[in-house]
C-alpha cells in the first residue's frame, strides 16, 4: 500500500486539483490501496479544498468507489435478471464456500471481497463476473474453482 499523503499528491499532480479531477484521483487511490480509506478521503478533501462530507458523499454514490470492500481482488458477480436465470446463485454458493465469506464481506487476509453488481453487459454469456478489471463468462462451479484457484495460488 502506498503512503496516502504522497499518493494523493502524486495523483493530483497528474490529474489536477480541480473538482473534475476527483473521480480519476479516487480511481488512482483504489488501484494502489484497494479501497478509499477515511484518511485517503480526508487527504483528497484537503488537496482539492472541498469539505470532507462532500468528498465522502461523492465516493459513496458510486459502486466501484469502494469505501468498505478492502480486498485486493474484488469479485463482482452480476445479479441482473439474465445472469440470475442462468444460475448465478450456484456460482455465489461456490465462491462463498471457497472463500468462507458471504457476499458483502472481505476475507481476513484482505485478499478477496465478494460483491454483487448490476448488469455488466455480459448478459448473452451469463452467469458472469468481474475480478478487478477482468471478466469471466459462462461460469460453472468447476470453472469458478479453476479461476479462483489461480488467484489464490498467485495472490
Amino acid at each position: 500500500m502506498a503512503e496516502v499523503k504522497e499518493l494523493v499528491k502524486e495523483l493530483s499532480e497528474k490529474y489536477g486539483n480541480r473538482r473534475e479531477s476527483l473521480i480519476p484521483i479516487f480511481q488512482g487511490i483504489i488501484d494502489k490501496n484497494y479501497y478509499l480509506s477515511k484518511e485517503a478521503m480526508l487527504e483528497v478533501a484537503k488537496q482539492l479544498d472541498v469539505s470532507a462530507a462532500d468528498i465522502y458523499g461523492t465516493a459513496s454514490f458510486f459502486s466501484f468507489l469502494d469505501t468498505d470492500a478492502k480486498g485486493k481482488y474484488k469479485i463482482r458477480i452480476c445479479k441482473s435478471i439474465t445472469c440470475d436465470m442462468k444460475g448465478k446463485s450456484g456460482i455465489i454458493a461456490t465462491l462463498e464456500e471457497m472463500l468462507k465469506i458471504k457476499v458483502g464481506e472481505t476475507t481476513e487476509d484482505l485478499m478477496f471481497s465478494l460483491l454483487h453488481t448490476n448488469c455488466i453487459g455480459l448478459c448473452d454469456q451469463g452467469p458472469a463476473m468481474l475480478i478487478n478489471d477482468n471478466y469471466y463468462t459462462k461460469l460453472t462451479a468447476e470453472k469458478v474453482r479453476v479461476i479462483l484457484g489461480d488467484y489464490i495460488r498467485n495472490k
Partner: protein, 387 residues
C-alpha cells in the same frame, strides 16, 4: 406496414473497406450545413433510449455561440440486457470515433470525451490505441478535435446525460433539471452534445451511404436499422442488427426458443410484452430504449423477474427525489407483501397507481419509467404475483 419477418442487416459491423478515417476526411470537405441536413433527412433518432432526432440535436448545437463546446459519447451502457455499445467499441471503434469527429466538425465543438462505464475498463487500452491513431489522422487532416476517455465509477443513473455530466464534474451523479439542456448548458457550463455510441456509429454510416440509402431500411415510421442485444431464453443470444419495424411475433419466432412467454423490450426501463400481444406489438423506436431485449420462456416466474427489476431500481435510484427514492422501495415491499399474503391482491392496483404517480412526479427518466415494466408485468401476469 410492419414486417412479419425479421430482416437481418449487416451495415454497422461491416469492416471498413476504405482507409481508416476516409469517411471523416471526405465528410469534412463538404458544407457543414449539408451534412447536418442530411442527418436530419435520414430520420436517425438517438440510440441511447430517449430517441431524440440526432440531426436536430446537432443543428441546435451548431447554433450555440461559445468558444468551447464538448462532444460526449455516452458509453455508460447500464441498461440491463444491453451490450451492443461494447461490441461497437470493440469491433468498429473507428466508426464511433469518426461519428464523434464529424459531429464536432459540424457543430464547431472543441473537445471530446468517451464516457466509458467502469465495468468496461478492460477496453481502455485498445481504445487508447485507437485514439492515438485517430489523433494522428486528424492532425493530417488539420482537424483539431482531441478526444479522451473518461472512466465512470459505477452508477446506472449516470447514463442519464445530466447525471453523466455531474459525475464528470466530480460530483454525485444526480440528474439536473431540464431545461437547460446540455446543448445549452452542459459540462462545465458549456454547450455539450451527448450521444450514444451507436448514434455516432450510425451517423458515420449515414455520411458514407447517404440518407437516401439509409431511409430504404425500415418502415415509414421507423427508419433505418438498429442493434438489438438479445439475451435470456434464446438460442441466438448476442447482438443482431435488424431493420426497424418488425412485429414482436416475427422477433420471437426468430430468436425465441419456441416456448417464449414474454419479451422485455427496452430493458428494465421498457415494457414486458406477453405472448398474446406479440402479433400487434412492433419493436420500434417507441419501446426500444437502447435495444435491450430479454426473452423469457414458460419456465420463468414473472414474480421473480419483477422482483429482480425492483431490487435494481431501489438500488440505483439516486435518491434525489422522494417519489422515486421511496416509491421504488414501496413497490418492492408491496409485491412481497402480496405474495406472502400480508396484503390482499387488490393492493396490486394501488401499487400500479403509485408507479403511475412516480411517472408524473419523478425528476428523471429512471423514476419516470419504473411504471413501464411494473404495470406491464403486474397487469399481464397478475396471477403469478399472487400465487
Amino acid at each position: 406496414m410492419p414486417y412479419s419477418r425479421t430482416r437481418v442487416v449487416d451495415v454497422l459491423f461491416k469492416p471498413l473497406t476504405t482507409a481508416p478515417y476516409e469517411i471523416l476526411r471526405k465528410t469534412i470537405q463538404r458544407e457543414k450545413k449539408d451534412v447536418i441536413n442530411e442527418l436530419v433527412d435520414s430520420g436517425l433518432r438517438g440510440r441511447g433510449g430517449a430517441g431524440f432526432p440526432t440531426g436536430m440535436k446537432w443543428k441546435f448545437a451548431a447554433q450555440q455561440k461559445s468558444d468551447v463546446k464538448y462532444v460526449i459519447c455516452n458509453a455508460d451502457e447500464g441498461e440491463p440486457g444491453t451490450f451492443k455499445d461494447k461490441k461497437l467499441l470493440c469491433e468498429v471503434p473507428r466508426k464511433v470515433i469518426s461519428g464523434m469527429a464529424i459531429c464536432a466538425w459540424a457543430t464547431n465543438a472543441t473537445k471530446g470525451y468517451i464516457y466509458l462505464r467502469r465495468e468496461y475498463r478492460y477496453l481502455v487500452a485498445q481504445l487508447e490505441e485507437e485514439l492515438r491513431i485517430y489523433h494522428e489522422k486528424a492532425k493530417e487532416m488539420g482537424l483539431n478535435f482531441p478526444i479522451e476517455i473518461f472512466l465512470g465509477a459505477g452508477a446506472y443513473v449516470c447514463g442519464e446525460e445530466t447525471a453523466l455530466i455531474e459525475s464528470m464534474e466530480g460530483k454525485r451523479g444526480e440528474p439536473r433539471n431540464k431545461p437547460p439542456y446540455p446543448i445549452q448548458n452542459g459540462f462545465l457550463g458549456k454547450p455539450t452534445i451527448v450521444n450514444n455510441v451507436e448514434t455516432f456509429a450510425s451517423s458515420a454510416m449515414i455520411c458514407r451511404i447517404g440518407a437516401e440509402e439509409y431511409k430504404k431500411m425500415g418502415t415509414a415510421d421507423q427508419r433505418g436499422s438498429k442493434l438489438f442485444s438479445i439475451s435470456g431464453d434464446s438460442p441466438k443470444e448476442g447482438v443482431h442488427e435488424l431493420e426497424l419495424g418488425m412485429t414482436l411475433e416475427a422477433f420471437a419466432n426468430e430468436f425465441g426458443d419456441g416456448d417464449t412467454k414474454a419479451v422485455q423490450v427496452g430493458g428494465v426501463a421498457g415494457f414486458c410484452i406477453p405472448r398474446k400481444q406479440f402479433k400487434t406489438q412492433i419493436i420500434g423506436e417507441g419501446n426500444t430504449t437502447g435495444g435491450s431485449t430479454m426473452i423469457f420462456n414458460s419456465t420463468r416466474s414473472m414474480y421473480n423477474v419483477l422482483h429482480n427489476y425492483l431490487d435494481f431500481y431501489a438500488e440505483e435510484s439516486c435518491g434525489q427525489c422522494t417519489p422515486c427514492r421511496i416509491g421504488t422501495q414501496q413497490l418492492l415491499k408491496g409485491i412481497e407483501a402480496v405474495k406472502s399474503g400480508l396484503k390482499p391482491p387488490s393492493y396490486l392496483d394501488q401499487l400500479i397507481k403509485l408507479s403511475e404517480t412516480m411517472r408524473i412526479t419523478s425528476k428523471c427518466g429512471l423514476g419516470q419509467s419504473v411504471t413501464n415494466s411494473f404495470s406491464s408485468i403486474v397487469q399481464n401476469f397478475r396471477e403469478e404475483m399472487i400465487f
